[in-house]
Structure formats: C-alpha cells, structure tokens
C-alpha cells in the first residue's frame, strides 16, 4: 500500500512539491496550501493555550497556589480562554479541514475567492501577533468574557491589545465564512444538488452562516468596550451612565452562537467518519443536515441562558430556558443518527473511528449536563461554578477536539500522502477519552458542592 502512494508522489506533481520556496508558500492562493499554513499556525496557538492550561492545573495543586499571585493565575486562565476560543476552537476545523476538503467535496478547482482565503490567513496571523504581544507585555486579567465594568474601569491588564487581537481575528472569521457560503452556493459540481452534498459541507455551511451573522456583533461590542476604556464614553459602566447588563447581552449574542461555530464542524466530521467506518451510508441524512441548520438558527435565540442570575427579567429567563431546551433537540437527533448508522453496519475500529466514538461519548455527557443548566432552578445553583467549567470543556474539548483529531487522522493520508502509525493513533484516542474524563468529571461534583469558577 505504502509503495503505491510513494510511486504516485514521485511522478505526479503534488501541491506539496509544486514550488518549494518560502515565497511560494506565503503567496500561495491554493486552498490546500492555505489549509496547511493554517494547520501550522493554529497548532502553535493550541500549544500556547495548552501551556496556559497546564500551568493552571499546576497552580491548583496546592490551596495557596504554586506559581505566586492570584493576579498571575487570573492572567493565565484569561489567556487560556482567549487563545483557545478565538485562535483555536473557532477557526480549527473550518480553516484546516474545511479549506482543504471543501473544494474537493464540491468538485471545484478552489474556493470562490482564493485571494480572500489567503487574506483571512494573514488577518489571523496579524490577530495572533496582537494576542502574543498582549501576552508577552503582561497579559490581561479579566476572564475571556470581559465583563464590564471590571474590564473598562478596573482591570490593569492589556485589555485593548487583547481586544484588537480578537477584533482582527473576527474579520478573518468573516472572510472564511463568506468564502464557504459563496463556494457552496456557486461551485457545486454539475448535478450535485443540495441533498447530494457531503454532510460535512452542510455543517460548514451552517457554521459559516453563524460566523458571518454573529461576528460583526462581537466586533461592535469590542469596539464599544475599547471606546469606554480609552475615552470613558459611558456605554457599559453605570458610574458614567452605562448599563453593565448591556455588555453581557451583546457579548453572549455572539458568544453563544460561537459555541456552535466550534461544534458544528465537529458534527460534520463525525457524520463523515462514522458512516465510513461502519461501511454504510449515514442514517437519516436529511435529519442530520436539517438539525445543523436548525442549530444555526436557534443558536441566535438562546444567549440569555448565560444570564439567569444576572438580573434580567423573570419572563426573559423563562423564554430563554425553553429555547435552550429546543436547541438541544437537534444535537440529540444527531447522536441518535450516528448510533443508527452503526446499526447493521460492518464496523472497523481504526484510529479515526475511535476518536469519533470518543467524541460521541464525551459530547453526549457534555450535552446532557447542558440540560442541568438549561433548567432554571438547577442553573441557579450550578451556574458560575466548576459544573459549568466541566460542562463546556466536555463539549469544547471532549467534543470538538476529539472531532478535530478524528478528522486529522481520517484525512491525514489525503493531506500528506503518508500514513500515520495506526497503533499510536489508537493509543492516542483511548488516552484522550479516559484522560479527559479523569480530568474533568470530578469538576461536575466540585460544582455541585458549590466551588466557584474564576
């Protein structure tokens, strides 16, 4: 098998060997090369965020902390959050696997706007540089949610630099989202109707719609935040005539849909892998694709569930609670359909499939614990504690990172022309599943006992 692959790379020109200068990489408009540029850069940020996470865990070994002041710890978890959310989770699958695979799945030569694709990478790099600057200059201590008036009037960290980083990263997201939407609309191969598209493209489409519609709101919110911090224009700080809850509304109006930006592409990856290794078509294709679309729509209507104890009205809490239950239904449908796909199949357990099964297991737990915080009275007790930390790490890390690794393994031979050592792939999948549970499951109990998150 490997000999065959080696042969083809020797004779045909691949995108990897077509020009080897740095210039040929940095000025490329080839979607495959841009995917690799992105792969390299998000991996770098994944490690930076990961180092911050490791230091957080290290500091938590002793009650008084292992690495000095509370200030340092606050800066660590803020950096962890900012880097992981905006520089890893949100771009991860769309810009790497999406960039590489979307044109191939569509049967197109490239994305609709290859130059825009390259620009989005440069924007990402610019944003990453700003983030690194704020990190090296001393960091920021507000938490990744930037709640006001702490952020605008009290924080001593490099708030503005961090905001600039996220603001620019937002434009990178918008460019990527537009590119996918237009490519999917206009570049499908002749005869490929919407319902004949691979399900991964559907989830990229749903993701892109959210990116394009929600990211501008984040941009505006951050701009207002910066204005208030620099020029003391009263928008959010009640001391100068603002409203602190307004920030939370605007922030979560972006950040809840953003959660689905992170997980929807993961759903797409899993919906490709489970059928492939079950040797059987996806069970309930139309239900899976329409559940992606309904998640994209309903996700815009649930932001208030972050604010059940924040001082909003009773009635709005009731509405946001029922809508939050509604948005969980399509996710449940997907899980059932993946299991339905295995039924009657011929299932193999290669590394990608193990990651995919790990994804289903961890995401189901993450989803179910979401029900606790959607049910109002239970949320009052559990919110702002470690329960919530565990819940969203189950979805974001257990779910999304597992799906990302599943996809990387699954398409690795397609991307590189090489095969990874299967046994290590499987070992990795198993370690991540059990290690993750060991790390995060106890946090559900800590949260129930009332341990606040920071």
């Amino acid at each position: 098998m490997s000999a065959v692959i080696a042969d083809t790379t020797k004779h045909a020109k691949s995108y990897l060997t077509d020009g080897t200068t740095i210039r040929s990489w940095l000025l490329t408009t080839d979607h495959k090369r841009i995917a690799l540029l992105y792969l390299g850069s998000i991996t770098l940020f994944f490690f930076i965020g990961g180092i911050a996470a490791a230091l957080i865990r290290y500091n938590l070994i002793a009650p008084r902390g292992m690495i000095g002041s509370a200030e340092t710890y606050n800066r660590l978890f803020t950096m962890h959050g900012v880097v992981m959310v905006w520089f890893f989770l949100i771009p991860a699958v769309p810009v790497t696997l999406g960039n590489f695979l979307a044109p191939l799945m569509l049967g197109a030569r490239d994305l609709a706007f290859p130059k825009l694709n390259l620009i989005s990478w440069y924007l990402y790099i610019l944003a990453g540089a700003a983030a690194l600057y704020s990190l090296i200059a001393g960091g920021v201590d507000t938490g990744w949610t930037f709640y006001t008036p702490l952020t605008t009037a009290y924080s001593k960290g490099h708030v503005v630099a961090t905001i600039v980083a996220i603001f620019i990263a937002g434009f990178s997201s918008i460019a990527t989202g537009l590119n996918f939407i237009i490519s999917i609309h206009t570049l499908r191969a002749p005869g490929m109707t919407w319902y004949k598209m691979p399900v991964f493209l559907w989830s990229l489409y749903a993701t892109s719609v959210i990116l394009v519609l929600a990211t501008p709101v984040l941009g505006m919110t951050l701009l207002l935040l910066a204005f208030e911090r620099i020029f003391h224009i009263g928008v959010f700080d009640p001391a100068i005539g603002g409203d602190p809850l307004l920030f939370q509304h605007l922030f979560w109006f972006y950040s809840h849909p953003a959660v689905y930006v992170m997980i929807l592409p993961g759903f797409g990856v899993i919906s490709e892998i489970v059928p492939a290794f079950s040797n059987k078509g996806l069970f309930g294709y139309k239900f899976v694709v329409w559940s992606s679309i309904s998640i994209a729509v309903i996700s815009f209507l649930v932001w208030g569930h972050h604010m059940f104890v924040a001082g909003t009205s009773l009635y709005s809490a009731l509405v946001f609670s029922i809508l939050s239950f509604m948005v969980a239904v399509p996710s449940a449908i997907k899980v059932f359909n993946w299991i339905g796909t295995m039924h009657g199949g011929s299932v193999r357990f290669d590394a990608p499939m193990l990651y995919a099964l790990g994804f289903i297991g961890l995401f189901t737990l993450g989803g179910l614990t979401g029900l606790f915080v959607a049910a109002l009275a239970a949320d009052v007790h559990l919110t702002q504690t470690y329960f919530v930390v565990a819940h969203f790490h189950y979805v974001m890390v257990g779910g999304m990172v597992s799906a990302y690794f599943a996809g990387l393994h699954f398409w690795w031979p397609k991307i590189t022309g090489r095969i990874y050592p299967e046994i290590w792939g499987r070992v990795g999948a198993v370690i991540i599943f059990f290690g993750f549970n060991l790390n995060f499951f106890p946090q559900f109990l800590l949260g129930y006992y009332g341990m606040p998150r920071r």
Binding site: L150, A239, P244, F308, V329, H343, G345, R348, L376, A377
Partner: protein, 317 residues
Amino acid sequence: MSFWLPHATTQAAEVDYLIFAVVAGSCAILGLVYGSIILYAIRYRAGSKVARYGASEKSWGIEVAWTSVTLLVFFGLFIWGADLYVRLFQPPPDALKVYVVAKQWMWKIEHHGGQREINALHVPVGQPIQLLMTSEDVIHDFSVPAFRIKHDVLPGRYETLWFQVETAGVYRLFCTQFCGADHAQMTGEVVAMAPPEYEQWLEQNGTSGSMAKQGGILFMRYGCSGCHGGNGIGGAQATSAVQAPPLTGLYGGPVPLEDGSIVTADESYIRDCILLPEKRRVAGYPPIMPSFAGQVSEEDVLKLVAYIKSLAPEAPP
C-alpha cells in the same frame, strides 16, 4: 464535612430533587447511548457473521419518534425548573430586609436596626429574609451553596434575593462572579440562629441608631430637608422657596411621572431619584433636583432610603 451538601433551606431540597431527577434521566440516556454503541460495536464489528439490514433503511418513523420523545422530556424539565425558579425569585411580602453592599473584595452587610458586619451575615431561622444588594464597583455575585441560591450584585442598581433558613448553622458565602485580583478571597459566612439568639445578637451589636434614624441625620446633612422640608413634608414656594414633592408616605405607593407613566416607589426608584433625578421625574415638579451621584456612598444611600421608607403617610405635625 459530609458527602451531601446540606439542605439549609426548604427550597434547597426542592432544587436537589430537580438536579437528581436530571441526573437519573441523564444516566438512563447515557446508558442507552453507551450501551447501544458497545452493543453495535461488538455485534456489527467487521467480519462478524450476523444478519445485516440493507443500507436503505426507512428512517422517518424512528426519527419522528425519538425527536418527539426528546421534546416531551425537555418540556417537562423546563416546566419543573421554571416553576421552582419563579418561586426562588419572588420574595414573600413580609420578608425581613437586610442590605448588602459588595466591593472589591468584601461583603458589607447592614441590618435594619443599624447593625453592621463585614463578610458575615447573621439571620434568624424560620423567617424569610430578603437581601437588597448593590455593588460599589464591579459585578459580584452572592452565592450560598447550602441554600442553592445565587444572584449577581450589580453596580448602579438594587438586585434582590430571598431565602428562608430552616436549620441553624454557619454556611459559606462565595462571590461567584469574577471580580478582579482577589475574587477568590471574597468569601464570608451566613450565620443562621434561633430567633431569641438572633435578637440577642442584634442587641449586643446595637449601634447609635437604626438605619432610618441615621438616614434622618444624613437627610439634614446632605441638605435634602432644605427643599423637601423637615421630616420630608415637601416644599412649596411659600415655605422653602422651591417646589419639591413631599416624601411622606411615598414608599410603596404609585408615583405619576413626567412622561405620563406610573411607577411604584420601591427602593430602586428612591435610589434613582437621589442619584439620577432626571431618569424618572415625578410629574408636576420643575427639574431642579441636583444629582447626588458620586457624593453619597452606597451605604449612605441605603440609609437615606431607609429613612424615606420610614416616613409614615400621615406624619403627626
């Protein structure tokens, strides 16, 4: 330290029933998902000699079935959680009011009788307590896990939270909204005592006067009485040269506003009138009241509010 978090309030047990019900339901679903994955993984593993269906299974019936079951269960959970939540956030009218001012990084508590404490809150058992909370700086959150309650404490407005402790004891209080460097140290305790002991505690910590009485002194000192008259009887051109609304009997009653709407004069309204007089101006009076924002501390505002609340409708001359 017992394994179970104590149920210090009646609603604590109710919240736990809800949580445990969701735990039970989740375990069932988790069992179903993990069970069928493991079952299918073994039964349909590649190479096993088991009967397999064709790839063209009809899926509509089963899709509709599991979608509607999921919806139904979720709707039940919503009703359960919402019903309890509504009760958690509707204080009974006879609740004993205690005032909380949060700041980086401490809790300042003030009782009706003027007793003050820091990072501790003494309350009687068996009686509903309503906290009226505000913050001097950033957003904090008042959370007592043993009571299963929490609520954000915002600058610039009053938020309320109520509970009724059933078991005497000392319970830990946390700030659960990240509020800056020493957020994790912003803790305290709620001491729930039998009513006689609570009375005794109030006496031992007696002060120069109740909040209302101290507020009365502030009412003179900040010059409020100059326009609103001594004892808040109101001002008119004849008596005090300016026209200012009377404050007697204001609390709890309806107030017609300049824009035609009518509000109930609660603590938040009175607070706004002191700090943001233009926000909701009473009908029929000229806009001459100056803002006291930045001049009166949150604690003094609470005392002024307590004083104005104490002004009975028909004050004897």
